[in-house]
Protein backbone atom coordinates (compact mmCIF):
# COMPACT_ATOMS: atom_id res chain seq x y z
CA UNK A 1 0.00 0.00 0.00
CA UNK A 2 2.07 2.97 -1.19
CA UNK A 3 1.28 6.49 -0.03
CA UNK A 4 0.40 5.43 3.49
CA UNK A 5 -0.44 8.40 5.73
CA UNK A 6 2.15 9.13 8.49
CA UNK A 7 2.03 6.30 11.11
CA UNK A 8 -0.36 7.15 13.91
CA UNK A 9 0.58 7.46 17.55
CA UNK A 10 -0.53 4.72 19.94
CA UNK A 11 0.83 1.27 20.93
CA UNK A 12 0.64 -0.42 17.53
CA UNK A 13 1.90 2.40 15.42
CA UNK A 14 5.55 1.43 15.69
CA UNK A 15 5.53 -2.03 14.04
CA UNK A 16 3.51 -1.44 10.88
CA UNK A 17 3.80 -5.10 9.92
CA UNK A 18 1.61 -6.33 12.85
CA UNK A 19 -1.70 -7.35 11.28
CA UNK A 20 -4.71 -6.84 13.48
CA UNK A 21 -6.79 -9.14 11.29
CA UNK A 22 -5.37 -11.75 8.91
CA UNK A 23 -8.02 -13.86 7.22
CA UNK A 24 -7.68 -16.31 4.32
CA UNK A 25 -10.51 -17.98 2.47
CA UNK A 26 -13.17 -17.38 5.15
CA UNK A 27 -16.41 -19.18 4.27
CA UNK A 28 -19.53 -19.65 6.35
CA UNK A 29 -22.69 -21.50 5.47
CA UNK A 30 -26.18 -20.85 6.82
CA UNK A 31 -28.38 -23.90 6.24
CA UNK A 32 -28.19 -24.40 2.48
CA UNK A 33 -26.61 -21.18 1.21
CA UNK A 34 -23.14 -19.80 1.73
CA UNK A 35 -23.29 -16.42 3.46
CA UNK A 36 -19.55 -15.92 3.10
CA UNK A 37 -17.34 -17.38 0.35
CA UNK A 38 -13.53 -17.35 0.37
CA UNK A 39 -13.01 -13.88 1.89
CA UNK A 40 -9.41 -12.76 2.35
CA UNK A 41 -8.51 -9.80 4.56
CA UNK A 42 -5.23 -8.28 5.77
CA UNK A 43 -5.78 -5.29 8.04
CA UNK A 44 -2.74 -3.69 9.73
CA UNK A 45 -3.21 -2.80 13.40
CA UNK A 46 -4.46 0.70 14.15
CA UNK A 47 -6.22 1.15 10.82
CA UNK A 48 -9.93 1.64 10.17
CA UNK A 49 -11.71 -0.50 7.58
CA UNK A 50 -15.18 0.03 6.15
CA UNK A 51 -17.01 -3.05 4.88
CA UNK A 52 -19.66 -2.08 2.35
CA UNK A 53 -22.17 -4.01 0.27
CA UNK A 54 -25.88 -4.41 -0.31
CA UNK A 55 -28.20 -6.09 2.14
CA UNK A 56 -27.43 -9.79 2.42
CA UNK A 57 -23.95 -9.37 0.95
CA UNK A 58 -22.41 -10.99 4.06
CA UNK A 59 -21.24 -7.93 6.01
CA UNK A 60 -22.79 -8.99 9.30
CA UNK A 61 -21.69 -12.59 8.86
CA UNK A 62 -18.12 -11.46 8.26
CA UNK A 63 -18.12 -9.35 11.41
CA UNK A 64 -19.61 -12.15 13.51
CA UNK A 65 -16.95 -14.54 12.20
CA UNK A 66 -14.18 -12.01 12.94
CA UNK A 67 -15.54 -11.54 16.46
CA UNK A 68 -15.80 -15.28 17.06
CA UNK A 69 -19.53 -15.72 17.51
CA UNK A 70 -19.55 -17.81 14.33
CA UNK A 71 -16.99 -20.48 13.60
CA UNK A 72 -15.99 -20.36 9.90
CA UNK A 73 -16.68 -23.55 7.92
CA UNK A 74 -13.57 -22.90 5.82
CA UNK A 75 -10.54 -20.73 6.05
CA UNK A 76 -8.11 -19.43 8.70
CA UNK A 77 -8.30 -16.39 10.91
CA UNK A 78 -5.60 -14.79 13.04
CA UNK A 79 -5.98 -11.72 15.25
CA UNK A 80 -2.91 -9.65 16.20
CA UNK A 81 -0.63 -12.40 15.00
CA UNK A 82 -2.16 -15.09 17.20
CA UNK A 83 -4.73 -17.81 16.47
CA UNK A 84 -8.24 -16.48 17.00
CA UNK A 85 -9.76 -16.53 20.45
CA UNK A 86 -12.78 -14.73 21.77
CA UNK A 87 -12.39 -11.54 23.77
CA UNK A 88 -9.78 -9.79 21.60
CA UNK A 89 -12.37 -8.29 19.27
CA UNK A 90 -15.55 -6.71 20.64
CA UNK A 91 -18.66 -6.70 18.49
CA UNK A 92 -21.52 -4.22 18.30
CA UNK A 93 -24.22 -5.88 16.20
CA UNK A 94 -27.95 -5.78 15.53
CA UNK A 95 -28.38 -8.00 18.58
CA UNK A 96 -27.67 -5.80 21.58
CA UNK A 97 -26.42 -8.63 23.84
CA UNK A 98 -28.49 -7.15 26.66
CA UNK A 99 -30.99 -8.45 29.20
CA UNK A 100 -34.33 -6.72 28.78
CA UNK A 101 -35.42 -7.40 32.34
CA UNK A 102 -32.44 -5.48 33.73
CA UNK A 103 -31.54 -1.79 33.60
CA UNK A 104 -28.79 -0.31 31.43
CA UNK A 105 -26.58 0.14 34.50
CA UNK A 106 -27.12 -3.48 35.59
CA UNK A 107 -26.27 -4.74 32.12
CA UNK A 108 -23.01 -2.80 32.19
CA UNK A 109 -22.29 -4.00 35.71
CA UNK A 110 -22.62 -7.63 34.60
CA UNK A 111 -20.23 -6.99 31.71
CA UNK A 112 -17.76 -5.30 34.08
CA UNK A 113 -17.97 -8.19 36.56
CA UNK A 114 -17.35 -10.70 33.77
CA UNK A 115 -14.28 -8.72 32.72
CA UNK A 116 -13.08 -8.30 36.30
CA UNK A 117 -13.29 -4.50 35.96
CA UNK A 118 -14.53 -2.19 38.72
CA UNK A 119 -18.32 -2.34 38.53
CA UNK A 120 -19.38 0.43 40.89
CA UNK A 121 -21.92 3.03 39.87
CA UNK A 122 -19.26 5.73 39.84
CA UNK A 123 -17.13 3.65 37.44
CA UNK A 124 -19.96 3.01 34.97
CA UNK A 125 -21.85 6.30 35.02
CA UNK A 126 -19.17 8.13 32.97
CA UNK A 127 -19.46 5.44 30.32
CA UNK A 128 -23.24 5.87 30.16
CA UNK A 129 -22.78 9.65 29.90
CA UNK A 130 -20.26 9.14 27.07
CA UNK A 131 -22.78 7.17 25.00
CA UNK A 132 -25.61 9.57 25.81
CA UNK A 133 -27.55 7.32 28.22
CA UNK A 134 -26.48 9.16 31.36
CA UNK A 135 -30.06 9.92 32.48
CA UNK A 136 -31.57 6.56 31.48
CA UNK A 137 -29.09 4.26 33.25
CA UNK A 138 -31.61 2.92 35.73
CA UNK A 139 -34.48 2.36 33.34
CA UNK A 140 -35.05 -1.18 32.15
CA UNK A 141 -33.63 -1.99 28.72
CA UNK A 142 -37.12 -3.25 27.89
CA UNK A 143 -38.18 0.41 27.68
CA UNK A 144 -35.17 1.40 25.50
CA UNK A 145 -35.62 2.41 21.87
CA UNK A 146 -33.50 0.66 19.24
CA UNK A 147 -31.15 3.66 19.16
CA UNK A 148 -30.70 3.56 22.93
CA UNK A 149 -30.02 -0.19 22.77
CA UNK A 150 -27.33 0.50 20.17
CA UNK A 151 -25.80 3.13 22.46
CA UNK A 152 -25.81 0.63 25.34
CA UNK A 153 -24.05 -2.02 23.29
CA UNK A 154 -21.51 0.62 22.25
CA UNK A 155 -20.96 1.34 25.94
CA UNK A 156 -20.42 -2.40 26.46
CA UNK A 157 -17.79 -2.46 23.70
CA UNK A 158 -16.01 0.57 25.15
CA UNK A 159 -16.05 -1.08 28.57
CA UNK A 160 -14.51 -4.24 27.10
CA UNK A 161 -11.71 -2.05 25.68
CA UNK A 162 -10.59 -4.79 23.23
CA UNK A 163 -7.76 -3.97 20.77
CA UNK A 164 -10.16 -4.56 17.85
CA UNK A 165 -13.68 -3.11 17.57
CA UNK A 166 -16.20 -4.48 15.09
CA UNK A 167 -19.15 -2.10 14.58
CA UNK A 168 -22.05 -3.51 12.54
CA UNK A 169 -24.19 -0.63 11.20
CA UNK A 170 -23.21 1.77 14.04
CA UNK A 171 -25.18 4.59 12.38
CA UNK A 172 -28.32 2.47 12.05
CA UNK A 173 -31.25 3.53 14.35
CA UNK A 174 -29.20 6.48 15.68
CA UNK A 175 -30.55 10.04 15.55
CA UNK A 176 -28.70 12.72 13.50
CA UNK A 177 -26.59 13.97 16.46
CA UNK A 178 -25.68 10.30 16.92
CA UNK A 179 -24.06 10.29 13.46
CA UNK A 180 -21.66 13.05 14.43
CA UNK A 181 -20.95 11.27 17.69
CA UNK A 182 -20.06 8.04 15.89
CA UNK A 183 -17.62 9.94 13.68
CA UNK A 184 -15.93 11.42 16.76
CA UNK A 185 -15.94 8.01 18.46
CA UNK A 186 -14.19 6.35 15.50
CA UNK A 187 -11.57 9.09 15.47
CA UNK A 188 -11.02 8.80 19.25
CA UNK A 189 -10.68 5.02 19.00
CA UNK A 190 -8.10 5.36 16.25
CA UNK A 191 -6.16 7.88 18.35
CA UNK A 192 -6.06 5.26 21.06
CA UNK A 193 -4.46 2.97 18.46
CA UNK A 194 -7.40 0.61 18.25
CA UNK A 195 -8.30 -1.19 15.03
CA UNK A 196 -11.86 -0.42 13.96
CA UNK A 197 -13.95 -2.30 11.38
CA UNK A 198 -17.26 -0.73 10.40
CA UNK A 199 -19.92 -2.51 8.33
CA UNK A 200 -22.20 0.20 7.01
CA UNK A 201 -24.16 1.71 4.15
CA UNK A 202 -22.74 5.19 4.93
CA UNK A 203 -20.32 4.87 2.03
CA UNK A 204 -19.64 8.59 1.52
CA UNK A 205 -19.12 9.37 5.18
CA UNK A 206 -16.85 6.44 5.93
CA UNK A 207 -14.77 6.82 2.79
CA UNK A 208 -13.40 10.01 4.42
CA UNK A 209 -13.15 8.55 7.89
CA UNK A 210 -11.47 5.18 7.23
CA UNK A 211 -8.18 4.12 5.66
CA UNK A 212 -9.22 1.05 3.71
CA UNK A 213 -12.40 -0.42 2.32
CA UNK A 214 -13.79 -3.82 1.37
CA UNK A 215 -16.76 -4.40 -0.94
CA UNK A 216 -18.80 -7.58 -0.57
CA UNK A 217 -21.34 -8.98 -3.00
CA UNK A 218 -23.16 -12.28 -2.45
CA UNK A 219 -20.72 -13.20 0.30
CA UNK A 220 -17.70 -12.70 -1.90
CA UNK A 221 -14.98 -10.06 -1.79
CA UNK A 222 -15.39 -8.15 -5.05
CA UNK A 223 -13.13 -5.19 -4.34
CA UNK A 224 -10.67 -3.93 -1.73
CA UNK A 225 -8.64 -0.76 -1.65
CA UNK A 226 -8.22 2.69 -0.13
CA UNK A 227 -11.43 3.95 1.45
CA UNK A 228 -11.38 7.08 -0.72
CA UNK A 229 -12.02 4.96 -3.83
CA UNK A 230 -14.95 3.10 -2.28
CA UNK A 231 -17.79 5.28 -3.65
CA UNK A 232 -16.41 4.87 -7.19
CA UNK A 233 -16.06 1.09 -6.76
CA UNK A 234 -19.60 0.90 -5.40
CA UNK A 235 -20.99 2.72 -8.46
CA UNK A 236 -19.07 0.40 -10.79
CA UNK A 237 -20.59 -2.56 -8.99
CA UNK A 238 -24.05 -1.12 -9.57
CA UNK A 239 -23.30 -0.67 -13.28
CA UNK A 240 -22.07 -4.23 -13.61
CA UNK A 241 -25.19 -5.48 -11.92
CA UNK A 242 -27.61 -3.33 -13.92
CA UNK A 243 -25.93 -4.50 -17.17
CA UNK A 244 -26.21 -8.14 -16.03
CA UNK A 245 -29.90 -7.66 -15.23
CA UNK A 246 -30.60 -5.90 -18.52
CA UNK A 247 -29.04 -8.58 -20.70
Amino acid sequence: MHGMPAPRTGPHAMNETLLAIEARGLSKRYGRNWALVGVDLRLPAGEALVVAGRNGSGKSTLLRVLAGSLRPDRGELRLLGEPHRKGRASLVSHASFTYDALSGMENLRITAQFLGRPSGREDLQPLLDRVGLGARGDDRVQAYSAGMRKRLSLARALLQDAPILLLDEPYGQLDPPGFGWIDRLVRELREEGKTVVLASHQVERLSRLCDRALLLEGGQRVWAGPAAELPAAFDRLEEVRSKAVAV
Binding site: S69, R85, K86, T98, D100, L115
Partner: protein
Protein backbone atom coordinates in the same frame (compact mmCIF):
# COMPACT_ATOMS: atom_id res chain seq x y z
CA UNK B 1 -13.73 -18.77 39.19
CA UNK B 2 -14.42 -15.04 39.08
CA UNK B 3 -16.46 -15.54 35.91
CA UNK B 4 -18.55 -18.26 37.60
CA UNK B 5 -19.33 -15.84 40.43
CA UNK B 6 -20.21 -13.11 37.95
CA UNK B 7 -22.42 -15.51 35.97
CA UNK B 8 -24.09 -16.77 39.15
CA UNK B 9 -24.80 -13.22 40.36
CA UNK B 10 -26.19 -12.39 36.92
CA UNK B 11 -28.54 -15.37 36.97
CA UNK B 12 -29.65 -14.67 40.53
CA UNK B 13 -30.48 -11.12 39.51
CA UNK B 14 -32.41 -12.41 36.51
CA UNK B 15 -34.33 -14.92 38.67
CA UNK B 16 -35.08 -12.23 41.21
CA UNK B 17 -36.21 -9.80 38.56
CA UNK B 18 -38.34 -12.57 37.02
CA UNK B 19 -39.73 -13.81 40.35
CA UNK B 20 -43.24 -13.49 38.99
CA UNK B 21 -42.46 -16.43 36.69
CA UNK B 22 -40.99 -18.19 39.70
CA UNK B 23 -44.28 -17.83 41.56
CA UNK B 24 -46.14 -19.14 38.54
CA UNK B 25 -43.92 -22.26 38.56
CA UNK B 26 -44.75 -22.87 42.23
CA UNK B 27 -48.48 -22.47 41.53
CA UNK B 28 -48.10 -24.90 38.61
CA UNK B 29 -46.43 -27.41 40.93
CA UNK B 30 -49.11 -27.00 43.59
CA UNK B 31 -51.84 -27.48 40.99
CA UNK B 32 -50.12 -30.64 39.87
CA UNK B 33 -50.06 -31.96 43.45
CA UNK B 34 -53.79 -31.34 43.65
CA UNK B 35 -54.53 -32.99 40.30
CA UNK B 36 -52.43 -36.03 41.15
CA UNK B 37 -54.44 -36.66 44.27
CA UNK B 38 -57.58 -36.80 42.12
CA UNK B 39 -55.93 -39.63 40.25
CA UNK B 40 -55.80 -41.60 43.51
CA UNK B 41 -58.96 -40.54 45.31
CA UNK B 42 -59.49 -39.24 48.82
CA UNK B 43 -58.18 -42.36 50.58
CA UNK B 44 -55.83 -40.88 53.22
CA UNK B 45 -53.52 -43.85 53.66
CA UNK B 46 -52.76 -44.25 49.93
CA UNK B 47 -52.24 -40.49 49.60
CA UNK B 48 -49.83 -40.55 52.50
CA UNK B 49 -47.99 -43.43 50.84
CA UNK B 50 -47.63 -41.53 47.57
CA UNK B 51 -46.74 -38.13 49.08
CA UNK B 52 -43.02 -38.43 48.24
CA UNK B 53 -43.73 -39.65 44.71
CA UNK B 54 -46.22 -36.88 43.93
CA UNK B 55 -43.88 -34.20 45.30
CA UNK B 56 -41.08 -35.24 42.98
CA UNK B 57 -43.26 -35.74 39.89
CA UNK B 58 -44.69 -32.24 40.41
CA UNK B 59 -41.18 -30.85 40.93
CA UNK B 60 -39.85 -32.58 37.82
CA UNK B 61 -42.56 -31.13 35.58
CA UNK B 62 -42.21 -27.69 37.18
CA UNK B 63 -38.46 -27.86 36.53
CA UNK B 64 -38.96 -27.88 32.75
CA UNK B 65 -40.83 -24.57 33.02
CA UNK B 66 -38.12 -23.01 35.16
CA UNK B 67 -35.29 -24.36 32.95
CA UNK B 68 -36.90 -23.13 29.72
CA UNK B 69 -37.47 -19.72 31.29
CA UNK B 70 -33.85 -19.54 32.43
CA UNK B 71 -32.67 -19.48 28.80
CA UNK B 72 -35.43 -17.32 27.31
CA UNK B 73 -33.75 -14.08 28.41
CA UNK B 74 -30.38 -15.35 27.23
CA UNK B 75 -31.70 -15.89 23.72
CA UNK B 76 -33.85 -12.76 23.41
CA UNK B 77 -31.06 -10.39 22.39
CA UNK B 78 -28.35 -13.03 22.15
CA UNK B 79 -27.06 -11.98 25.55
CA UNK B 80 -25.26 -15.31 26.01
CA UNK B 81 -23.32 -14.70 22.77
CA UNK B 82 -22.30 -11.33 24.21
CA UNK B 83 -20.90 -13.02 27.30
CA UNK B 84 -18.91 -15.47 25.20
CA UNK B 85 -17.48 -12.58 23.19
CA UNK B 86 -16.09 -11.14 26.40
CA UNK B 87 -13.87 -14.20 26.47
CA UNK B 88 -15.86 -15.91 29.24
CA UNK B 89 -15.38 -19.69 29.25
CA UNK B 90 -18.62 -21.57 28.43
CA UNK B 91 -18.21 -23.85 31.47
CA UNK B 92 -18.17 -20.81 33.74
CA UNK B 93 -21.41 -19.59 32.20
CA UNK B 94 -22.84 -23.10 32.62
CA UNK B 95 -21.99 -23.37 36.31
CA UNK B 96 -23.36 -19.88 37.00
CA UNK B 97 -26.61 -20.80 35.30
CA UNK B 98 -26.82 -24.34 36.72
CA UNK B 99 -26.23 -23.11 40.29
CA UNK B 100 -28.91 -20.44 39.88
CA UNK B 101 -31.32 -23.03 38.42
CA UNK B 102 -30.51 -25.37 41.33
CA UNK B 103 -31.33 -22.64 43.83
CA UNK B 104 -34.50 -21.81 41.93
CA UNK B 105 -35.70 -25.46 41.84
CA UNK B 106 -34.79 -25.89 45.49
CA UNK B 107 -36.91 -22.84 46.36
CA UNK B 108 -39.81 -24.24 44.31
CA UNK B 109 -39.43 -27.54 46.18
CA UNK B 110 -39.44 -25.81 49.54
CA UNK B 111 -42.58 -23.94 48.55
CA UNK B 112 -44.27 -27.22 47.55
CA UNK B 113 -43.53 -29.03 50.83
CA UNK B 114 -46.24 -27.20 52.84
CA UNK B 115 -48.74 -27.84 50.02
CA UNK B 116 -47.83 -31.55 50.13
CA UNK B 117 -48.10 -31.69 53.91
CA UNK B 118 -51.57 -30.11 53.80
CA UNK B 119 -52.85 -32.31 50.99
CA UNK B 120 -51.35 -35.67 51.95
CA UNK B 121 -50.64 -35.29 55.68
CA UNK B 122 -47.39 -37.30 55.85
CA UNK B 123 -45.51 -37.53 59.17
CA UNK B 124 -43.66 -34.27 59.91
CA UNK B 125 -40.69 -35.88 61.65
CA UNK B 126 -38.82 -36.54 58.41
CA UNK B 127 -39.09 -32.99 57.01
CA UNK B 128 -35.48 -32.12 57.97
CA UNK B 129 -34.06 -35.08 56.03
CA UNK B 130 -36.48 -34.37 53.20
CA UNK B 131 -35.00 -30.88 52.74
CA UNK B 132 -31.56 -32.50 52.39
CA UNK B 133 -32.89 -34.89 49.76
CA UNK B 134 -34.61 -31.93 48.08
CA UNK B 135 -31.25 -30.19 47.76
CA UNK B 136 -29.53 -33.27 46.27
CA UNK B 137 -32.43 -34.09 43.95
CA UNK B 138 -32.87 -30.60 42.54
CA UNK B 139 -29.10 -30.48 41.93
CA UNK B 140 -29.44 -33.73 39.99
CA UNK B 141 -32.18 -32.23 37.82
CA UNK B 142 -30.44 -28.88 37.34
CA UNK B 143 -27.14 -30.11 35.83
CA UNK B 144 -28.45 -32.12 32.84
CA UNK B 145 -31.46 -29.80 32.79
CA UNK B 146 -29.38 -26.69 32.23
CA UNK B 147 -27.36 -28.44 29.53
CA UNK B 148 -30.43 -29.57 27.60
CA UNK B 149 -32.32 -26.32 28.22
CA UNK B 150 -29.40 -24.46 26.64
CA UNK B 151 -29.67 -26.81 23.67
CA UNK B 152 -33.46 -26.87 23.37
CA UNK B 153 -33.70 -23.07 23.60
CA UNK B 154 -32.16 -22.88 20.13
CA UNK B 155 -34.68 -25.22 18.50
CA UNK B 156 -38.25 -24.57 17.33
CA UNK B 157 -39.85 -27.50 19.14
CA UNK B 158 -38.23 -26.83 22.50
CA UNK B 159 -41.32 -27.47 24.64
CA UNK B 160 -41.40 -31.05 23.36
CA UNK B 161 -37.68 -31.68 23.19
CA UNK B 162 -36.57 -30.58 26.64
CA UNK B 163 -38.73 -33.10 28.57
CA UNK B 164 -38.05 -35.81 25.97
CA UNK B 165 -34.29 -35.38 26.34
CA UNK B 166 -34.21 -34.63 30.07
CA UNK B 167 -36.61 -37.08 31.72
CA UNK B 168 -34.82 -40.33 30.75
CA UNK B 169 -31.58 -38.89 32.10
CA UNK B 170 -33.02 -38.03 35.50
CA UNK B 171 -34.74 -41.39 36.08
CA UNK B 172 -32.13 -42.29 38.74
CA UNK B 173 -32.76 -38.94 40.47
CA UNK B 174 -36.50 -39.51 40.41
CA UNK B 175 -36.15 -43.08 41.76
CA UNK B 176 -33.66 -42.18 44.49
CA UNK B 177 -35.46 -38.98 45.50
CA UNK B 178 -38.90 -40.58 45.64
CA UNK B 179 -37.66 -43.63 47.56
CA UNK B 180 -35.67 -41.62 50.10
CA UNK B 181 -38.43 -39.01 50.50
CA UNK B 182 -41.06 -41.68 51.13
CA UNK B 183 -38.78 -43.44 53.62
CA UNK B 184 -38.19 -40.18 55.47
CA UNK B 185 -41.85 -39.27 55.50
CA UNK B 186 -43.25 -42.69 56.37
CA UNK B 187 -40.49 -44.02 58.59
CA UNK B 188 -37.18 -45.57 57.67
CA UNK B 189 -36.55 -48.59 59.95
CA UNK B 190 -33.38 -49.83 58.26
CA UNK B 191 -32.03 -46.35 57.53
CA UNK B 192 -32.03 -46.87 53.76
CA UNK B 193 -32.62 -43.19 53.01
CA UNK B 194 -28.96 -42.49 53.57
CA UNK B 195 -27.83 -44.90 50.86
CA UNK B 196 -30.33 -43.36 48.39
CA UNK B 197 -28.84 -40.00 49.27
CA UNK B 198 -25.41 -41.41 48.39
CA UNK B 199 -26.75 -42.48 45.00
CA UNK B 200 -28.00 -38.94 44.42
CA UNK B 201 -24.56 -37.66 45.38
CA UNK B 202 -22.94 -40.04 42.90
CA UNK B 203 -25.33 -38.87 40.16
CA UNK B 204 -24.37 -35.25 40.83
CA UNK B 205 -20.71 -36.25 40.94
CA UNK B 206 -20.99 -37.62 37.40
CA UNK B 207 -23.22 -35.05 35.73
CA UNK B 208 -22.06 -31.71 37.13
CA UNK B 209 -18.55 -32.12 35.65
CA UNK B 210 -19.74 -33.86 32.45
CA UNK B 211 -22.42 -31.29 31.60
CA UNK B 212 -20.01 -28.44 32.31
CA UNK B 213 -17.52 -29.98 29.90
CA UNK B 214 -20.06 -30.41 27.12
CA UNK B 215 -21.88 -27.08 27.51
CA UNK B 216 -19.38 -25.26 25.28
CA UNK B 217 -20.40 -27.41 22.32
CA UNK B 218 -24.05 -26.60 22.95
CA UNK B 219 -23.89 -22.82 22.86
CA UNK B 220 -21.06 -22.11 20.45
CA UNK B 221 -22.02 -21.96 16.78
Amino acid sequence: MRVVRAAFRKDLLLSWRGRAQGMAVVVFGATLLLLLSFAVGPNATTLRQLAGGFLWVALLFSSTLALTESFRLEREHRAIEGLLLLGAHPAAIFYGKALANWLHLFAVGLALIPVMVVLYDPGLSGIGGLIGILALGTAGISAPGTLHAGLASQIRAQQVLLPLLLFPLVVPVLIAAVRSSSLLLLGDPMGQARSWALLLLAFNGIFWPLCGLLFGHVIEE
